[in-house]
């Protein structure tokens, strides 16, 4: 591989910016171009659904720091429309082209939108992913709508609902399953989240979906028809129903890309549709799907903040180093969410667990820790308002510790009671395992 003279990064958010900085740290001295479809300099997304919506922070105050000079050419407000692998050119909206020797795909994801035929085009229906989304939604919340409907009780849905309650707004949340956060974090956290929602006086509709959003004569949202036939009056709806990878521009490029992401290998090289790595194209951040050595047999796509940063660094390194010096991207996944005044931190991948057990504190109290196991190994932990103990669990996960873990934590239960991880609230515990306390 010859050393590249022109590197193009498509995607000018967290992963794109940190990759550009890392490329310069790695000694890349050639021409560096960043292409981003938003007009804004790179900003941080996590506060959009929290401090920004609540009005404690304006979007201008979410701009990411520049950690070093990158001497790059910025093409902002410019979406990539296509990729010509043979000629090694990125095609831009409007037909212009940007040539590259090496390309980093960091186009991230977007919020899954509500279908237009079911009311998605009505004024008052929102998704929340970008600065502009947040400014629009903040404007509507600040105007004091009589009721906000949040579709989906995942992380974003919970954060939005929580802000609405902080603002004193009536809010209804619909959730397809039997508990908030359940699909990602399982029944133990789901049960605790039920209480957070309840204490915050959120009108939570479980096992319920939205059939249609309906407007008035002016195209303004007025009501939602729920799956149980209920008609709910609401002036604002927030669709928090997951994310899709921004890969349309790669359609027909020959890369293995679809709405689930762009497939790459362990060293961040993009794969062609035939599964072979493409030497000069790399991927990082929310858009990338790759085989993580800790979780064999599947491709992971992590839309986590620290994954964007870490994968950007690994990809940047590998883009300018010889293959013999390539690094494998194998982070221990980690993420956080703040909702209802609660800090939730996670290491590992709870969604892959078959069992879960409370190891410290009590889900009935404010603080507790839940550990997650798969086939007798500890694979994840979630700390609820307990951020100072999680490193200990991370080390155990990385060391391949058994599940349930023998901790004997002084604030742990007398006996560990592992539950089926997918159990919804109301599920029965499986056989108790004595924890062997002193």
């Amino acid at each position: 591989m010859t050393s590249p003279e022109r590197i193009v990064v498509v995607g000018a958010s967290l992963a794109g910016l940190r990759a550009a900085e890392a490329l310069r740290d790695e000694g890349f001295a050639g021409e560096l171009t960043l292409i981003g479809d938003e007009l804004y300099a790179p900003y941080d997304r996590p506060p959009l659904s929290k401090a920004v919506l609540s009005g404690r922070l304006t979007t201008e105050h979410t701009v990411l720091p520049r950690l070093r000079n990158i001497d790059a050419r910025w093409l902002l407000g410019t979406a990539a429309a296509g990729l010509d692998l043979g000629e090694r050119r990125v095609l831009l909206d409007g037909g212009r082209q940007v040539p590259f020797d090496r390309l980093l795909v960091a186009t991230g994801t977007r919020a899954r939108s509500w279908p237009a035929e079911a009311g998605g085009a009505l004024h008052g229906v929102h998704t929340l992913r970008t600065r502009d989304d947040a400014d629009r939604l903040r404007g509507e919340l600040a105007a004091g709508p009589r009721r906000v409907l949040v579709i989906g009780a995942g992380f974003t849905g919970g954060e939005v609902a929580s802000v609405c309650r902080d603002l004193g707004l009536a809010v209804t949340v619909t959730q397809r399953s039997g508990a908030p956060l359940g699909s990602a974090l399982g029944g133990v956290i789901g049960r605790a989240a039920l209480r957070w929602y309840h204490d915050a006086e959120v009108d939570l509709r479980l096992n319920t979906t939205v059939r249609a959003l309906e407007g008035d004569g002016h195209g303004r949202l007025r009501r939602a028809v729920l799956s149980d036939g209920t008609v709910l009056e609401a002036e604002v709806a927030v669709v928090a129903a997951g994310a899709l990878a921004n890969t349309e521009w790669l359609t027909g490029s020959g890369l293995a890309a679809d709405p689930r992401g762009l497939v790459c290998d362990g060293v961040c090289r993009a794969l062609a549709v035939d599964g072979t790595p493409v030497a000069d194209v790399f991927a990082a951040g929310d858009v990338a799907r790759w085989p993580h050595p800790l979780y064999p047999g599947q491709l992971l796509r992590l839309d986590h903040w620290d994954n964007a940063v870490a994968q950007a660094r690994t990809a940047a390194h590998n883009m300018v180093q010889a293959p013999s010096d390539h690094r494998t991207h194998r982070p221990l996944p980690a993420f956080w969410s703040n909702q209802f005044g609660i800090n939730l931190k996670c290491v590992g991948l709870p969604a892959l667990a078959d069992q879960v057990v409370v190891t410290q504190g009590s889900p009935e109290g404010r603080c507790f820790v839940a550990a997650y196991g798969r086939q007798g190994r500890l694979i994840a932990a979630v700390a609820v308002d307990s951020p100072r103990v999680l490193d200990g669990y991370a080390a155990l996960i990385e060391a391949g510790a058994p599940f349930p873990p023998v901790l004997n934590a002084t604030d742990g239960p007398e006996d560990l009671n592992p539950l089926d991880a997918t159990d919804e609230p109301g599920g029965r515990p499986t056989t108790p395992v004595p924890a062997g306390r002193r």
């Binding site: 190891t359 103990v389 080390a395 060391a399 934590a409 002084t410």
Partner: protein, 419 residues
């Protein structure tokens, strides 16, 4: 695998604790670090690697119980207490303590100015940095915060000294000292109970009154918890920051370039105090015990073992810090262990930092040609809370305080910019 024998590890640790080596225990810590986790012949596990200490500070399999029968008080302070009781006690204290130490910089500055003004001299003179600044500053602050009459200092100061000696490993203490410790504990109980009774009679707006009044969700502290917590705050206020300021001054006098830089660039005080906390920490180690087997660094610490986290050793771990034995006043990414970590992270860290930043800057700015009278200075007996007994310095001049330059105020929160 462990190559250091338990005997050798124990010997190295004993050397680090020897009074003769008080001025410089670091070479022994460096040798211990060749095995970051090692069992000494008395069964105590010594942890000296930065990574290992950091992990164990945050591991639920460790208890703050020191398993030391001689040090077991009737009721444990939050320093030696575990969750969930620890969390309840700490929450109560933090709630009342932290708001009271916010925005205190100006007042600390006044106190420092006043203490040094007493020695202002256009002619060559002498100062004991410990007795004249490093000790009275934090003591005044903690007494004001808690509502302890300043005149009680004569009683309490001696008690605190005798009690903190009790933190040192038992085998380093003499029979007399251990007897004295019991006596000091009894005196402390009497003193604190008297203090609480007086506050009960005439409540004020100080921290002690606030703790007595608090009716949080867990209810108020019972009289014993109140007494134990009060004792902890008092002792910590008397016996820790003094060493931070004194160790910092000593380090600066041994690094005249840093002293000169601090004089012209007061912002250097911020990273420099962190570097003092790394390079020569006022609290050298912290005790724990295990409630489950712990696999770490290729060894297994069994359940029920005594553990010593050698913070001062971890702070010089070359795996974490480049040139660890060099004092780098503007060191970056300085994740030192000077205040511990995890759930027991020092409650008074912010206050200690502010006091040290202000005191060291004032010394740098006001002293001309300061010199150590004795290097090393005489050290206190205490090994865990380690620092000079006296720090005599001579100087050509001790200038009056410079006219304060207005600094942007930041004590009131105006988070964000939107409404």
């Amino acid at each position: 695998m462990t190559t250091t024998t338990p005997h050798a590890a124990g010997e190295l640790f004993a050397q680090a604790l020897r009074y003769d080596n008080r001025p410089d225990p670091y070479p022994y810590y460096a040798q211990l670090r060749s095995e970051p986790v090692v069992c000494a012949q008395d069964g105590t596990w010594l942890v000296s690697g930065h990574r290992e200490i950091s992990l164990l500070l945050r591991d639920p399999r460790l208890s703050a119980d020191r398993l030391n029968p001689l040090q077991q008080p009737v009721r444990k302070s939050l320093l030696m207490e575990d969750p969930p009781r620890h969390d309840q006690l700490r929450h109560l204290v933090v709630q009342h303590f932290v708001p009271r130490i916010m925005g205190m910089r100006e007042h600390i500055d006044e106190l420092v100015t006043g203490l040094l003004d007493a020695h202002t001299s256009e002619r060559p003179g002498q100062l004991d940095v410990v007795a004249d600044l490093a000790y009275p500053l934090p003591v005044t602050v903690i007494c004001e915060l808690l509502g302890v009459p300043r005149e009680d200092e004569s009683v309490f100061g001696g008690l605190a000294r005798r009690l903190t000696r009790g933190l040192d490993p038992v085998n380093t203490q003499t029979e007399d000292e251990l007897r004295e410790l019991q006596q000091a504990r009894a005196e402390l109980v009497d003193y604190l109970e008297g203090l609480i009774a007086r506050h009960g009679a005439t409540p004020t707006d100080d921290l002690l009154s606030a703790l007595m009044r608090d009716q949080g969700p867990e209810g108020s502290m019972d009289p014993v918890d109140l007494r134990v917590t009060l004792g902890l705050l008092m002792i910590a206020g008397h016996e820790t920051t003094v060493n931070l300021i004194a160790n910092g001054t000593l380090t600066l006098l041994r690094h005249p370039d840093a002293l000169t830089r601090l004089r012209t660039d007061p912002d250097l005080a911020t990273p420099m105090v962190e570097e003092v906390l790394r390079y020569d920490p006022p609290v050298q180690m912290s005790g724990r015990s295990t409630v489950a087997d712990i696999d770490i660094a290729g060894v297994t610490i069994p359940k029920g073992a005594r553990v010593r986290l050698l913070l001062a050793a971890g702070n010089r771990d070359p795996h974490r810090f480049s040139e660890p034995d060099r004092f780098v006043p503007d060191r970056r990414d300085n994740a030192h262990l000077g205040f511990g970590g995890g759930i027991h992270y020092c409650i008074g860290a912010g206050l200690a930092r502010a006091e040290a930043q202000i005191a060291l800057t004032a010394l740098a700015c006001r002293l001309r040609s300061p010199r150590l009278v004795a290097d090393p200075p005489p050290y206190r007996e205490n090994a865990v809370l380690r620092g000079p007994e006296h720090l005599l310095i001579t100087f050509d001049r001790l200038s009056p305080a410079p006219v304060p330059t207005p600094v942007p105020t930041g004590s009131t929160a105006t988070f964000g910019t939107s409404g």
